[in-house]
Symmetry: C2
């Protein structure tokens, strides 16, 4: 498990942006389970963050100094700013956002990689068909809550698995999920059988571990298991990861389990953002943010993800403007 002592805070002068670069004042940071993976050694889809480097993070900020004609001071942008007050970033790796169209935190949430992950993972990997049952774990989390709502928009039955009555009430009462299973107080197996009498057609998994095994045992024929993440396992040593014992359910049911990285769909971000923004505007996608304050609270805030303590998209507000 990560802990505060794994991080060192230091104060150094901000670098000067070079040609093509800009200096960004970070306003918000996105806290994502994937960041835990970036802290591990070994081959992955992105290089690990080395010891002593600034911790990688998606951020939203305001351009202070620009050495690129595409951006000017005052512009608002998102990109990999890292966990710091000021960041020097190449302008071509930043996306400009319009503060008039949506509140700023939304650009790190439904209108950012969180929404894109839900969109492409569910629609492209999961291939949900109208009338099918879509189950999502970590359903009250940033990605999970969007997955369930897109499932509803697609004409599917949406069943969320989340921890605690408040989250489950929110899923059904506010977001329009057909059912929610509280893994902290219910037997997930029994509840799944009740809510998915014809089996699970699509399972969007953010959690891994025992919940993955339980859902695997109830797959429908030709089911698709979308592997987005496994937050229950990220702090385990690789040799201690719980592999899904029920994986042979994939054979019995001619089903598949597939992983993806949102970056695979970079060519289609525009289409997705347009759809997500439309659904947000129409009220068909609702969202909430869980916003902590202060860069110095990064370690403790980040840990909330692994204890199921965040409720909605977890962000840190670094500065007002």
């Amino acid at each position: 498990m990560v802990q505060r002592t794994d991080f060192e805070f230091s104060t150094v002068p901000a670098s000067e942006p070079g040609p093509g670069e800009v200096l960004v004042r970070v306003l918000y940071l996105s806290l994502d389970p994937a960041m835990r993976g970036w802290m591990n050694e070994g081959r992955s889809y992105i290089a690990p963050v080395a010891l002593g480097e600034v911790m990688r993070a998606l951020g939203l900020g305001r351009v202070v100094v620009s050495k690129d004609p595409s951006l000017k001071p005052g512009d608002l942008v998102t990109g990999l700013t890292g966990v710091q007050d000021y960041a020097v970033v190449s302008a071509k790796n930043l996306n400009q956002v319009d503060p008039g169209l949506a509140p700023l935190p939304r650009y790190l949430n439904v209108l950012g990689f969180t929404g894109l992950t839900a969109y492409f993972g569910l629609l492209e990997v999961g291939q949900p068909q109208p009338g099918e049952t879509v189950v999502v774990s970590g359903a009250a989390g940033a990605t999970g809550s969007v997955v369930g709502q897109i499932a509803k928009i697609q004409g599917c039955r949406a069943v969320g698995i989340a921890g605690g009555a408040a989250k489950c009430d929110y899923l059904v009462g506010e977001l329009g999920f057909d059912a929610a299973i509280d893994y902290k107080s219910e037997d997930v197996r029994t509840a799944l059988s009740r809510h998915c009498p014809n089996g699970v057609n699509v399972f969007f998994d953010n959690v891994g571990g025992e919940i993955l095994d339980t859902v695997l045992a109830q797959l429908a024929r030709k089911a698709r298991v979308v592997l987005c993440g496994a937050i229950s396992q990220y702090n385990h040593h690789p040799t201690d990861v719980r592999g899904p014992k029920n994986y042979l359910s994939l054979v019995i049911n001619s089903a598949r389990m597939e992983g993806f990285i949102v970056f695979n769909y970079a060519q289609r971000y525009g289409e997705a953002i347009q759809a997500l923004a439309g659904w947000l505007a129409e009220g068909r996608i609702k969202t909430r943010e869980d916003i902590a304050e202060g860069l110095e609270n990064f370690p403790e805030t980040f840990l909330k993800l692994f204890h199921g303590e965040n409720f909605g998209k977890l962000l840190i507000k670094v500065a007002e403007k």
Copy 2:
């Protein structure tokens, strides 16, 4: 682990075939890992064999009495005869075979469900592309050996994992695999890195357990893991199955793991048998059968599958004609 005492031999008069049925004298029985699954309780792709029922098996036999116009005495057929000397089977569930085109055992091997499983599993689920690396476990087994040879026909690099030098020599020397890894004497991880320097594009898994985990750790981007079976796990209680700890490699590599049942492709058996028969005739697919004699030796012969003792397609010869 199954044992002889799980089976009871009994002698009863053969039933009379009813309308549409035939009485078949069983000549050969196919011994397949899937049969172990049929002995377990619980929901699967096919009903379990109940206690006291004749053990289900694919067989090849000669029609003795026919109550259906499509078959006459003397015709040779394959179908689910069960582990018995004589079987009454519905004519519509039997396929007639031509003893002039291939030796009889071949019809339970490359020209039967074994070949069909390799064909559809590799080509439809695995989707191998020319130049890609295909790894198969249980490579000297009935299905695995065909998988590797079809991979070569598709222009892929074929790497087999098998137990013992004799099997590995056979794969490379006789079947034309590019490389073989002896899991009994080599470190599979190291050997895989050496033989698959660009990672594994398609893994056709018959084995499960540690070998599955080892290959998962070396997947290439967008790899396909074809789950055919898991012979290392079939005699474990469901709660003791080894789940693949490295399944998150599917996320990192945007890869998928997919199960299948050959029956899914029933509409296309004709196409596949035609292709397989052509490759056999051209010598592009070679095969061997491991034929035991005597119905009474079924339990011990069946167990050879789980101890890696068979070499080629395992059959029992029940009668000469």
